[in-house]
Symmetry: C2
Subunit: 450 residues, 2 copies
């Protein structure tokens, strides 16, 4: 079972986690806060630390500034420092393909992979909010299909740059003065729709060949990109019941089923649904903890979040009546899968606006005892709905401490989770093979035909 | 006296430093290599580690790939990791304003400043080579004056983003649920020639207010930017004799003299010439060491470097005759100050091509005993040619070890260099004041008039 420790907000999986009594909110820009969390996750043998990111302060509503956790250390700067105080855990940086350049990102990920001895991963996102566009000299963010087109080209260029040094290109022959073998360095000469990049990169090929590629898209284009390129997919869980399991199995099959046409085998991709377990000694205690977390969300912030997910301001509608209209998915240009999830809730039962915001903004909280949580994870894992999970925490480091101290040993006892790291790199620990270099196979073909 | 420890190439100040017998060339992408260097520099009480950078492999000549040190870890990824293993030394990242976005750079520098408790600096460069342009979807790099125009706007936007959180904007009031004071967060609403950026940044104001701004331009536009914005200027040394001292004093006065018109006092800017001391127990030993370093440069690489500096291929001209033409500075779009330096050499004496490449590519090597090196540094410092120096090393870590073990104690004995760090931040150690926040003074004015 693959386990990611996800940091959605720096203080936990919930937009109001920072209000939890156990959270040291002053630590959000203090290295020691993150160091403690990472060392705990490594004690729990997590495959990787999965760091979410956005490129803006969510200020379209005043509550976003006043109440939301709007601070996020920049991923590379943070993860690279964390590489120094950990030894085994993977470090997944969320990086947008819409507001970056492939040369910079190839280089940062390669450097992180070198400095961490093969522990870098890249959570590929395309960004979703107009606020982000306005921080990068645009008025609106790119239209959905263009974002994905750019993402695919971006990843291809990045991989080309990682391949631009063959693994044995570096000679370092002091005697002769040959630093590198010129026949094993390559200009990638990319001229595409979105980028022109010549290369080579000024960092050698990463220890993992390519850092591990993760992705979260659950839309149609997202699933195609996942099947073609991703090695880890962060998937949604719709509900914790039998219906949710069925939906999980269907999504799992859907994505894995698309891989063959890209010449990939099913085990080259790990599907890890995101889940936020709330752990109590009894089920009742867990439910109380969950309620306490949910109560931290100011009502106006909850409504504004729902307005954000729907793409329109719904704050003028009565709180205790159902929303009087149904948003149109086809015209929507933020996260389509987030809107789909809300539409499903609306279709399933007649929810008031209050219920809708509470459910849509407090998702993923599964309350239970350590045994119940382990039962859930094991069932999804064994029944073909997941290769593992991306665990979120109600608050940090407390929620992580609970999971590591109480659930991990239970999973280990059942034999579904490692007791020690066995691989040298993140890729090894995930059971993913090291990718071939595109230029080596070209050269081999060339030699074979000459 | 301000001292920077500069890493021009990862293995030293010389393009062939990696060939030095004492260099662990395999360490160039190994964190422990850099960790050892930084900890030595901190033991030597250097103000900062000054990390050079470029965004390409210099491959316009085959020697660039075959012989030059073409690997450089990405600055933020490297410096952030190094922040973890050091406590006092400043960390200066070289970042191009031509191939980056202000939002990303403001955020990375702010994060580095937070995680290092106020030790970040930014060496602002505009990039110079077409090879860089071709890695970023352009054919040629920007024309000289456009680069500087963009740089000034870039720095202004970045500073605006650092100011977008007032120092006391963060409330973290768990009881009331107020995370931040909305009146103390600001949209910068920048709409300029090169950028449109709304803000605010999603990281709070850096501990230093702004990370320290360093700059290296010695051209006319470079000197203006320095006088307006820079806090540390990395300057050239033309020669080690009396004439060089005079030139140093003139440059020093020239730059400092331009500051008043921007409302700045002279001590708000530290001018630190770059110098590579080669230290021997005797002057003779030092000269032998220098010759040994210079001998590491393959002849063709030296010629190609000179072709690069001149902007045209001179490899077909006879080695033992003077260059039969004089390059035109006014039409030149790489480093104007580097070309100026070469033109000065050509004007001063009748050098053969061989002599010219040897002198132009082996600059900054001052061979001497610890006392002689200290004499030189002290004289420049006391006679108004420098506020300190950016020290380069013939090879790493050996050249740094020599400087820390032999020259630093001599400077300390003379009372011109610190024996302990006294400031809490890099800015404190440099004696630079923490900048005001542009929005706070606006608010104060507004209140005074209402």
């Amino acid at each position: 079972m693959v386990l990611g420790a996800m940091m959605f907000f720096p203080s936990g999986g919930h937009i109001s986690s920072w209000r939890h009594p156990d959270v040291d909110a002053k630590g959000l820009l203090d290295f020691n806060y993150y160091k403690q969390i990472l060392q705990t996750a490594e004690r729990g043998k997590f495959d990787m630390f999965f760091y979410a990111d956005e490129l803006y302060v969510w200020d379209r509503f005043e509550t976003g500034i006043s109440h939301a956790n709007s601070i996020r250390p920049e991923p590379f700067t943070l993860l690279s420092a964390l590489a120094v105080v950990t030894e085994h855990i993977g470090l997944a940086a969320t990086v947008s393909t819409t507001y970056n350049e492939p040369y910079h990102i190839a280089r940062k990920l390669a450097t992180l992979d070198h400095l961490s001895n093969g522990r870098a991963a890249w959570n590929i996102v395309t960004s979703q909010a107009d606020e982000e566009a306005r921080n990068f000299s645009r008025d609106k963010h790119l239209e959905h299909s263009k974002r994905y087109e750019r993402a695919v080209e971006f990843v291809d260029v990045t991989q080309g740059l990682w391949d631009s040094w063959e693994d044995d290109a570096l000679l370092l022959d002091k005697e002769s003065g040959y630093f590198a073998d010129k026949d094993k360095l390559h200009n990638i000469q990319h001229k595409g729709t979105h980028f022109q990049v010549q290369g080579p990169l000024n960092v050698t090929r990463p220890p993992q060949g390519y850092p591990v590629l993760a992705q979260a898209g659950a839309s149609e284009s997202g699933k195609e990109v996942a099947a073609e390129k991703a090695e880890v997919v962060f998937a949604p869980i719709h509900s914790f019941d039998a219906e949710g399991l069925l939906a999980g199995q269907q999504l799992y099959e859907d994505i894995k089923g698309r891989m063959a046409k890209y010449g990939r085998s099913r085990d080259e991709l790990k599907i890890i649904p995101g889940i936020m377990p709330i752990i109590g000694q009894t089920e009742e205690e867990a439910k109380e903890k969950l309620a306490a977390i949910e109560s931290l969300l100011p009502e106006q912030l909850g409504l504004d979040l729902l307005s954000h997910y729907l793409g329109q301001d719904i704050s003028s509608y009565p709180l205790d009546e159902p929303l009087p209209f149904r948003p149109d998915l086809s015209q929507f240009n933020q996260s389509k899968s987030a809107l789909e999830r809300i539409l499903e809730m609306m279709d399933k039962e007649q929810l008031t606006l209050r219920q809708l915001y509470q459910r849509s903004t407090n998702r993923r909280g599964l309350a239970g005892t350590p045994v119940q949580i382990a039962d859930f994870l094991e069932e999804w894992f064994l029944k073909g709905a997941a290769d593992g999970f991306n665990i979120q925490f109600s608050h940090l480091p407390g929620g992580l401490d609970d999971f590591v101290n109480l659930v991990v040993p239970e999973l280990q006892r059942r034999g579904v989770f490692r007791t020690e790291y066995t691989g040298g790199t993140l890729r090894d620990n995930l059971g993913l093979k090291r990718p071939d270099n595109r230029y080596v196979s070209v050269r081999a073909d060339h030699l074979a035909h000459s």
